[in-house]
């Protein structure tokens, strides 16, 4: 996995640029990594616990969790869309990873086949730096854009 910071920053950038609900998009981008809960369990039983939590790191499981979360919002559809986009950004990022033990079972529970492109190792922090730089650029761009807009409104 890229780290959570990368996932949340890419979620934030996607939310900002697509004008979706940023807070929910960032939460959605982190949902699949709830699977990391297995790390809290005994190291000896971790492979089995990892199997138990595996479906959360699949589109099927992550969307089910998103569905449960949306039930706590007034407008289910308005909450579900940004959460799902966030989940999609998570899997797109993870798709670039190189994991020698196998990729992601994207079609679980219908297929156990695993996919990955294998471009970046998960311990490589280049992705984090790039995401951070991109987030700073997007933030700066929107700050300038909003300031200009306010200026124009005041002048007009």
């Amino acid at each position: 996995m890229p780290d959570w910071l990368t996932h949340s920053l890419i979620g934030w950038i996607t939310g900002k640029t697509t004008k979706q609900e940023i807070s929910l998009l960032v939460i959605g981008a982190l949902i699949p990594d709830i699977t990391k809960l297995y790390l809290l369990f005994n190291p000896i039983t971790q492979p089995m616990t990892q199997d138990f939590f595996l479906p959360i790191h699949t589109p099927f499981g992550a969307i089910l969790i998103a569905s449960i979360i949306t039930l706590f919002f007034q407008d289910i559809k308005k909450a579900f869309i940004p959460l799902t986009i966030g989940i999609a950004t998570h899997f797109i990022l993870d798709f670039f990873l190189l994991n020698v033990s196998g990729g992601m079972p994207l079609l679980y529970p219908f297929s156990w086949a695993e996919w990955q492109i294998g471009l970046i190792r998960s311990d490589d922090y280049t992705m984090t730096i790039l995401a951070l730089l991109a987030a700073i650029l997007v933030y700066a761009f929107y700050r300038i854009y909003e300031k200009r807009k306010i200026k124009e409104e005041n002048n007009g």
């Binding site: 780290d3 807070s23 595996l54 499981g61 089910l64 449960i68 529970p109 086949a113």
Partner: protein, 163 residues
């Protein structure tokens, strides 16, 4: 229907827990990577020149012949020790006991030629978790800046300034 949301929520939770139980019971027997390892180690002769990747622990290093003897650290941890030829790679930084990620080509029984080797450094793994920590307050701040929980209705409501 008055309890539509509760029924939907329970149904989604039931599906999720069922799929988790299914994965718990069947992951090891269906994992394509584990299946591939088993096939390769049981019928090596039919898998000549097959690409394989795994994590392994170095048991011995022969720097003269540029070979490593490794134990494959993949489930179910019962694979035979293998000899990996690293003639085209630099192994100067590797030590006995190191964990490595390997991409190799199978040649003969328990013999492979590595095309890529990466040393797994524990500090780099720890750094992933350290880098992940700032995301928690970041996500919580973004969320609770926009939403507040109403105990009466059991719903998140948009804060007025973000309405």
């Amino acid at each position: 229907m008055k309890h539509k949301r509760i029924i939907l929520g329970l149904f989604a939770l039931f599906l999720l827990i069922t799929s988790m139980m299914y994965a718990y019971q069947n992951a090891e027997s269906n994992d394509p990577q584990i299946k591939k390892y088993k096939q390769i180690f049981e019928h090596t002769e039919t898998y000549n020149n097959t690409k394989i990747s795994f994590t392994a622990e170095i048991l011995a290093i022969d720097r003269i012949n540029q070979t490593l003897r490794v134990f494959i650290q993949e489930r179910p941890y019962t694979y035979p020790q293998v000899h990996i030829n690293t003639a085209n790679l630099t192994i100067g930084n590797l030590q006995k006991g190191d964990l490595i990620d390997v991409i190799a080509i199978v040649h003969a029984e328990n013999k492979m030629t590595a095309t890529n080797i990466w040393r797994n450094e524990p500090w780099k793994d720890n750094l992933i978790y350290l880098r992940s920590l700032p995301a928690i307050p970041f996500a919580l701040y973004l969320f609770f800046r926009t939403w507040k929980f109403n105990n009466q209705t059991w719903r998140f409501e948009r804060r007025k300034k973000n309405a």
